[in-house]
C-alpha cells in the first residue's frame, strides 16, 4: 500500500516543481525564438534600408537608421538597368524552363522504366544512379568542364541546362517512390484497352504524378535559381549572365556603392520571398521529402 502513496508524492513533487519552472522555461523559449528571429532579420533589414537610401544618406554613415524616403527607388532603377538585371532574369528564366521540363520528363521516364519493367542489367542501372548520388558535383567540375567544352557547349545557355538535367538523381527517386504507389492494375486496365507502354506512361502514370512533379519543380527551381558555380564556370560572357553571376558582377563597377549593390540583392531576394509566401506548405514538404530520399 505504501508504493502508490510514495509514487503519488513523487508525482506531486514533480508537478509542483514543474509548475514553478514552467513560466521561466516559457520565457526562455520565447526569448530564444525572438533572438533567432532578430539574427535572421537584422542583416536582411539593413540591406533593405540601404537599398532605399541616397548617396548623401550613405555618406552620413548611420547604418541602422531607416531611409528618409521609403519610396526612393532610384537605386533599383540603377541596379536594374546598369546591372543588366533584365537580361539576367531572362537567362535564368530560360535555364529554369528547359532544365525543369527536362528533369521532369527524363526523370519520370527513367523512374517508369525502373518501376514498371523488368529487364536485364536493371540492378546495374539502379546501382549506377545510386552511386552517382554520392559523387558531389562540385568535386568533378574540373573534369566536367572538359566534357562540356568538347561538346561545344561552353559559354552557351545549354551548358547549365544539360548539367542541371544530368545531375538530378533525386528527382528520379522521388518519381520512383511515387510510381510505386500507383496500382499496377491501372496500367493493366489501360493495356487491355489496347494502350502501348508510352500511352500508359502519358495517360495513366504522368497525370497521377502531379504531386511529385510539384515537389521536383520546387526543389529544382530553387536550386537552379540560386546556383552560382555552374553559370560562373560555364557562362563567362556578361550577356549570358544569370541572376547569380550578374549580381556577382555588381562588386566591380559599383565598388563602394552599397546602395546599388543592396538594391540588386533585394531584387534577387524578392522573387524568392514571394514564392515562399505563396507556396510555403509545398516548399516544406518538398525539401523534407527530397532530402529523405
Amino acid at each position: 500500500m505504501t508504493v502508490p502513496s510514495t509514487a503519488r508524492a513523487a508525482f506531486d513533487r514533480r508537478e509542483r516543481r514543474a509548475a514553478l519552472l514552467r513560466p521561466v522555461a516559457v520565457t526562455l523559449k520565447y526569448l530564444s525564438l525572438v533572438a533567432a528571429s532578430v539574427v535572421v532579420l537584422l542583416p536582411l533589414l539593413t540591406i533593405f534600408f540601404t537599398s532605399l537610401k541616397t548617396e548623401q544618406e550613405m555618406a552620413g554613415g548611420d547604418t541602422l537608421s531607416p531611409p528618409r524616403d521609403w519610396f526612393n527607388f532610384a537605386n533599383y532603377a540603377t541596379a536594374f538597368t546598369k546591372g543588366e538585371m533584365l537580361t539576367a532574369f531572362g537567362n535564368t528564366a530560360f535555364i529554369l524552363l528547359f532544365s525543369i521540363t527536362g528533369t521532369v520528363v527524363i526523370g519520370s521516364m527513367a523512374a517508369y522504366a525502373i518501376e514498371r519493367f523488368s529487364f536485364r542489367f536493371k540492378k546495374l542501372v539502379v546501382a549506377a544512379f545510386l552511386v552517382a548520388t554520392l559523387v558531389p558535383a562540385v568535386t568533378t567540375q574540373v573534369a566536367t568542364f572538359k566534357v562540356v567544352d568538347a561538346l561545344g557547349l561552353f559559354d552557351t545557355r545549354w551548358a547549365p541546362v544539360l548539367l542541371y538535367m544530368g545531375t538530378d538523381i533525386v528527382a528520379i527517386y522521388i518519381f520512383q517512390q511515387f510510381i510505386r504507389g500507383i496500382p499496377v492494375s491501372l496500367d493493366e486496365a489501360a493495356r487491355i484497352d489496347g494502350a502501348g507502354s508510352f500511352k500508359i506512361y502519358r495517360t495513366v502514370i504522368f497525370p497521377l504524378l502531379k504531386p511529385a512533379i510539384a515537389t521536383v519543380v520546387i526543389i529544382k527551381g530553387i536550386t537552379v535559381y540560386n546556383d552560382f558555380y555552374i553559370p560562373f564556370l560555364y557562362n563567362p560572357s556578361p550577356e549570358l549572365g544569370t541572376i547569380s553571376t550578374s549580381l556577382f558582377r555588381f562588386k566591380g563597377p559599383f565598388g563602394a556603392h552599397w546602395e546599388t549593390i543592396s538594391a540588386g540583392a533585394v531584387l534577387v531576394i524578392v522573387p524568392t520571398l514571394v514564392i515562399f509566401l505563396l507556396l510555403q506548405r509545398f516548399i516544406y514538404n518538398g525539401f523534407t521529402s527530397g532530402a529523405a530520399k
Partner: protein, 319 residues
C-alpha cells in the same frame, strides 16, 4: 515508405506477352520481342546518357588526369605517376585547405545542435509557430550571391555588426573579414545562418511525424520535456540526424560560394574547392587540381561508407 502493393508484384511485361497471342492467335514475331526488350532502354536512354556524360566520364577523366602533368590546354600530357598526390600531401600551403574545413565542420556541429533545439521547441505548442518556422527556414532559400553581399555589408567596417555592437557600447577594432584569425569564424558563421533552416525543417518534419498519442501518453505519465526528448523524439529522428551529419561533413569539405564571393578565397579563407578551381583554371595545373578533386571524392565516399556501416538504413533495400 508508400507500400500500397503488399501482394507479389505483377510484372506488366509477361502479362502483356500472355495477352497478345491470346488475342491475335499468332506467335509474336522476333522483331516484336526485340522491340519489347528495348522498350525500357528507350525510357532510360536520356537519363543514362546524361548520367554517363556528366558524372561517370568526368570521374574517370579526373582520375586519369591526376596521374599526369597536363596543363588543361596543350595536347600533350605526360604520365607522372603519383607525383601530384605526393605534392598535395607534402606542400603545406596546399594541405592547409583541410585545416580551413575544420572551421566549417565546427560550424556545422553548432548548426545541427541549434536546429535540434529549435525543432524541439516548435514541436510543442507555441504562439506564432508558423512565423518562427518561416523565419528560421527562409535564409536557406536565399540566393548565395545575395547572402554573400548581405554579409559583406554586415561585416564591413561600420557595417551592421559594428553598428549593433556600438549600440551596446562595444567598439571592436578588428576587421571581421580582414583579420586572418577571424575570417574563417566569420565566414563559417554565415554558413550557419544560411543552412540552419534546412536542418531545422528536416528535424521538425521528422518530429512531427511522431504520433500524437505517444506525446499524450508521455504527458499522462508525467514525463518532463527532457525525458520526452530522450525517450520519444531522439530515437525517431536518428536517421535524419545521420543524414545531416554526412551532409555536414561533405558540405564542410566542399565549401565554395560564400568565401569565394566574400573574400575571393584570399589568404586564410581559401577552401578546398576554391584551391582546386584556382589550380585548374588560373594556374593551368589540371593534373594537380584533379588529384585534389580525387582526394576530396575519396574522403566523401569513405565517410558515406562509414556512416552506412554505423547507421544501417532501412531504405538501403531499394530495388
Amino acid at each position: 515508405m508508400t507500400d500500397l502493393k503488399t501482394g507479389p508484384r505483377v510484372d506488366p511485361a509477361p502479362a502483356a506477352a500472355a495477352d497478345a497471342p491470346a488475342r491475335t492467335a499468332v506467335p509474336p514475331a522476333r522483331g516484336a520481342t526485340w522491340a519489347r526488350r528495348l522498350t525500357p532502354w528507350g525510357y532510360l536512354a536520356a537519363a543514362l546518357v546524361l548520367l554517363v556524360a556528366f558524372t561517370y566520364v568526368p570521374v574517370a577523366n579526373m582520375i586519369s588526369y591526376s596521374f599526369t602533368d597536363w596543363d588543361g590546354v596543350s595536347p600533350d600530357k605526360d604520365f607522372v605517376g603519383v607525383d601530384n598526390y605526393v605534392e598535395l600531401f607534402t606542400r603545406p600551403d596546399l594541405f592547409h585547405v583541410f585545416f580551413v574545413s575544420l572551421f566549417y565542420l565546427a560550424a556545422a556541429a553548432v548548426q545541427i545542435v541549434v536546429a535540434l533545439y529549435f525543432a524541439t521547441v516548435l514541436t510543442f505548442r507555441t504562439r506564432f509557430r508558423n512565423l518562427f518556422k518561416g523565419l528560421l527556414f527562409f535564409p536557406y532559400l536565399i540566393n548565395g550571391v545575395a547572402v554573400a553581399f548581405v554579409f559583406l555589408y554586415f561585416f564591413k567596417e561600420g557595417g551592421t555588426l559594428d553598428s549593433v555592437l556600438a549600440l551596446v557600447g562595444v567598439h571592436p577594432k578588428q576587421l571581421w573579414l580582414g583579420d586572418p584569425d577571424l575570417v574563417n569564424v566569420s565566414l563559417s558563421g554565415v554558413s550557419v545562418w544560411r543552412f540552419l533552416g534546412l536542418n531545422f525543417v528536416l528535424f521538425l518534419g521528422a518530429m512531427q511525424s511522431i504520433p500524437a498519442e505517444l506525446h499524450e501518453a508521455a504527458e499522462i505519465d508525467g514525463a518532463t520535456r527532457w525525458q520526452v526528448f530522450r525517450g520519444i523524439i531522439a530515437p525517431s529522428i536518428r536517421p535524419i540526424i545521420g543524414l545531416s551529419v554526412i551532409l555536414a561533413i561533405s558540405g564542410s569539405l566542399s565549401v565554395f560560394e560564400i568565401p569565394f564571393i566574400m573574400t575571393r578565397g584570399f589568404g586564410e579563407s581559401k577552401t578546398f574547392v576554391i584551391q582546386t578551381v584556382k589550380l585548374a583554371f588560373d594556374f593551368n595545373k589540371m593534373g594537380l587540381a584533379s588529384a585534389m578533386a580525387v582526394v576530396l571524392l575519396a574522403i566523401i565516399l569513405l565517410i558515406t561508407w562509414v556512416q552506412r556501416r554505423l547507421v544501417p538504413d532501412e531504405r538501403a533495400d531499394r530495388p
